[in-house]
Symmetry: C3
Subunit: 468 residues, 3 copies
């Protein structure tokens, strides 16, 4: 094994400075941009006492922090533990999945604070941030974690960071078009996070198609313990999804309603997933991949409509359908995508995020179009859809149309953006393409020790550490 190892070292020597350089230059850029632009919003600034008087607030408890911080922490867990551990089901990718999810998310949230800040929190030349901005940055990075699920095992860390940079940018533009120009409601991000993120990732993985990836299929298998680790990811996503969909809804009834709708949808989704998994599997066994993934489709599919008057039974219906669609997708669509369309969807995000995201967008459009003053109350109706100011004259059916337009825009942004970014990732500047082709898991290998390198795992050994 001497030769390939030396070759590897030669290749790695050029790589050795690339990741550090990208990370450090990026962080310096962030410091400069944050220094120029980012300040505390009124509710996090030391001038809060004056602000309180101005806004006629009588208690500190009315600070937005207390409305949203618990939900923020739940979302934070979903992004870092949920998405990270969900991808540990592949026995050789486990640490790479968690580690690189960690890296790209920490990298992405800083850029998301800026991009989303310029679009939504820009006042007098400064971005004023509060807990809602932190949630939105996590949401934005969530769409990158989704796309990461499609290209897992195909990219170097550098490529991953480049993709994050572009995807966060495109996400923010798409979000601005939907929320501000089309005046669309999408608090749980069925369109902005899931549909956009998934189709973006699928387009990128299509462009990065590598036929010989199959050779390393044995590395893709799962083992008993990796399945239990993956269930940690699954369960945290499932349990905290009500927080995800309600985190940035209006204070009061909207947050409350979002959580209930999501809870109901997810419960129903588990039942139909188990049913179809058992039905479509030989011998009636349950497939762990379905349990780990399709059970979550119910959260995605009510992302747009959860804060609306979807009603608990409406949520059960949506959850049931999404579980079926997602499970069927794992059994039939994923193999089809790979064999016919050359889309290698490592984690099956088409089934967990893309299709349920589309369902979510459509359900949102229908629920908005079906809204009546009778169901929402006069005030509630205006508050739920922000039919104030220039949108005073919007009717539910028009709103439904705009919601539908939001789906189309998200899809177009995902396909066009994914194609461009996929092309950029194919440029030979991001690493040795040959290395990528011959070694199936270049970035995962950055973590997983091979036998001859297993000493890389040890620490505390002075002689080794002293001569790195």
């Amino acid at each position: 094994m001497e030769r390939p190892r030396h070759q590897g070292m030669a290749k790695n020597t050029s790589m050795r400075w690339r990741l550090p350089l990208v990370c450090l230059l990026w962080e310096v850029a962030m410091i400069v941009l944050f220094g120029v632009f980012v300040r505390f919003g009124a509710e996090a600034d030391a001038h809060w006492e004056e602000e309180k008087r101005e806004m006629n607030l009588t208690s500190d408890i009315e600070n937005d922090f207390y409305f949203r911080y618990p939900s923020f922490q739940d979302v934070h867990v979903m992004i870092f533990v949920g998405f990270g551990f969900l991808m540990t089901f592949l026995k050789r990718y486990g640490f790479g999945a968690v580690g690189f999810n960690f890296l790209l998310a920490a990298f992405g949230i800083q850029w998301a604070l800026l991009m989303q800040g310029w679009f939504h929190s820009f006042k007098n030349g400064k971005i004023l941030i509060g807990v809602e901005n932190l949630i939105n940055a996590d949401f934005c990075v969530g769409s990158v974690c989704i796309a990461f699920g499609a290209i897992l095992g195909k990219t170097s860390p550098i490529q991953l960071l480049v993709m994050t940079l572009f995807q966060v940018t495109l996400f923010s533009v798409n979000e601005y078009i939907l929320l501000n120009l089309l005046h669309v409601k999408d608090a749980g991000g069925s369109m902005t996070i899931h549909t956009f993120g998934a189709y973006f990732g699928l387009t990128v993985t299509r462009i990065l198609y590598r036929p010989n990836l199959e050779q390393s299929k044995d590395k893709q298998g799962s083992v008993y313990h990796s399945d239990l680790f993956a269930m940690i990811g699954t369960l945290y996503l499932w349990m905290y999804w009500p927080s995800f969909n309600s985190a940035i809804s209006d204070h009061g009834d909207a947050q409350h309603r979002s959580a209930i709708n999501t809870y109901c949808s997810l419960a129903a989704c588990v039942l139909t997933t188990m049913a179809f998994s058992s039905m479509l599997q030989k011998k009636g066994k349950l497939d762990m991949v379905h349990i780990q993934n399709a059970t979550l489709a119910g959260g995605v599919a009510v992302g747009t409509s959860a804060e609306m008057m979807l009603t608990p039974y409406g949520s059960l219906i949506v959850g049931s359908i999404s579980g079926i669609v997602s499970t069927v997708g794992y059994v039939y669509f994923t193999p089809f995508l790979e064999s016919r369309l050359h889309i290698q969807d490592t984690c099956g995000i088409h089934n967990l995020h893309a299709m349920p995201g589309l369902i979510g967008g459509i359900v949102g459009a229908i629920t908005a179009a079906a809204a009546t003053e009778d169901v929402y109350g006069k005030e509630g109706f205006i508050k739920a859809f922000d039919f104030t100011g220039e949108y005073q004259a919007r009717t539910p059916s028009i709103q439904g149309g705009f919601q539908a337009a939001g789906i189309v825009v998200s899809l177009l942004m995902a396909f066009a953006g994914g194609a461009i970014v996929g092309g950029i990732l194919k440029l030979p500047v991001w690493g040795d393409a040959a290395a990528v082709t011959t070694r199936a898991l270049p970035y995962s290998a950055a973590f997983v020790p091979e036998d001859e390198e297993s000493d890389a795992y040890h620490m505390h050994s002075p002689d080794k550490a002293a001569s790195p």
Copy 2:
């Protein structure tokens, strides 16, 4: 291995349609019943703005959502991660424990929302739900998760769902008798959740007694990693138990007090558990099973009294005693139950839930009987025990008597209900009894791949997936 495999397939063919059918029919029934009965409560409904005016609330922060949602999420984690992972200590049951806990809980919470809704939230023909209903549904399902711990490894998934259906129903009836008819306090569910759930499960496992289960004892062993997975369950239950006991207490001091009492009780319980584990074990070693389970008894044992003026030192006493009782139970009672009474208590729920639950009920009765207006204050006294309306004339000692009656009712419901449901589960319609006898882990095996079937683990393989 050809023959048994074909046999297995033949048996499974009949099973193949049973689980899907049950799940799908159930979900359709839920959708219909939710459609007829379930609507949003006032605080989750879009008419909230009008409600706020009516109730003279000045801020959205007074929505019940903000009082209870963080606790709800903690309880949610306890049910799905806590109970699920606690049972992963058995090396061959790991995935089955987490997966089937997931299935039964998602199945049960929908039925619990209806059952508890009819009893407690029924107005003008509709069940009006809010975050408190979600917590109560999780609580109700928690009692099923407890019972599941006794029968782990003995039932098919169908039997599990049948048990869930009946147990949720009986739980709701028992809860109604205690809370509404006896006017008993039991916010943390020492009686309604733990005593009822555990004795119900123990009765069921007695009826399902299978002498030859011992043959597969080697599969019940734990391995190093499965013990670490189980500690995830233990710690999340331990850490979040203060939220469990305070989740549905009255706003303000009662929630605050419940959390403090539970925190103190749990801390003391760890100390006495470690002491007795080391004392009763040969060579003074600590037994992992005690650390994983008996340390939690302190939470169970203050379930009824945590919201009362138990005081921190009272909590330390209760926690200390429960840790001792539970550890001694694991060492002496569990073997006795199995060898003499033929009660195979897989996870030792008699030690973790049944005995500490009884302690909790008794401590609650004593604490209530010892209450004085001096300790609680005039207003606090009435508020703490709801001594208003028809209960205006109740004295602490009478309340103590009713609390004690609540224990007896819960025990009777558990024994009678468990006997009936155990009998129902023995009916030959739920699966091939022979298969159950000859294969020790029929349902767990639905998840765990055997060697010749290990390909069932893989996904993304088009040829296989296309011909399921």
Copy 3:
């Protein structure tokens, strides 16, 4: 293997009663002291209704419980899951790390409630506790968990409990000097928790130096799954650190600001850690130990200043620097400490807590010294630094000086206290010193089964359990 086993039994026979006795006596002492001293604070007492009227509060939501309980639960997870699992990266210490962390923390929080109560919540002869006391007790025990990271593998459980007892005491004294006598701000505990805890632990491990510990180095290695377990610890610490630093800050803007600053600092820290890990490692690979530890330095390093107007870009700068310092520490300082200074720092707490803690103290002093009424607003300035009463005349630069003095006091307390406690731990009364020397992992071995004892893992076996 008969002989050494019998020897072990002989040794263990004397040990057998020591741990139980210490735990039980301790718990009895706690019950007595709690009985004499500890009562519910006004916000957890049943007299709360009267209190509310007195304080002119209009709603139960203004109970401190709702301001701090979600953060408390996050801190609780950090102490028990975060610190516990972070130390599972060593393949033979996994269960011992989690189990003994659980024991010492449950042991320590009871004593911390008393010690901190006497100093900070003592009124009319009683310690009045509320949720803030629970957080502070967790914080105090956090400093013991940190010190535990340095001596992991060197002490018996008894020694661990003795250390906890003394360290909690010294922590409380040091905290009192800093917060009350020097009037220093340190909400996230850079000085009181991290600097004190780490240098205390490092001093103890220096005194307990054992040259032949190297022999068992092979047991210190990590394995694939233990690295994933450790990532659970890492991620929960990382995600919840904003709650840690904001948990006891003033209501309103201060809590809000602390969370934002910590979020920013941690994100930056991940980037610089990855950069330097890749740069300093041969072949440019990422070292899992750095990812697991150094990424957290950003939380430590803003512990003092997070609630001040550090600003988001200031946080990015501090986080970036601390990631670099910590990673460089793992590569160069840890081997140096071990080989030259004979400080065996098992988990590298010098890099994760000691140096970043010092940075945190210094950044806090500078941020305080640089405060102006312009930046904070007149009211905000006084509120942020409590410049009221006898401290009315303090200027920012004087405050900066006192902050710096707080670092020095913490260091002195840590070195002096660590030396004394280390000496006490060397006394021959805590266990057979020979046993400690010849068996590298005496306490871990209390959990980890060796081959001939693997039956200790099993439960439910009546014959064994009946004759303990």
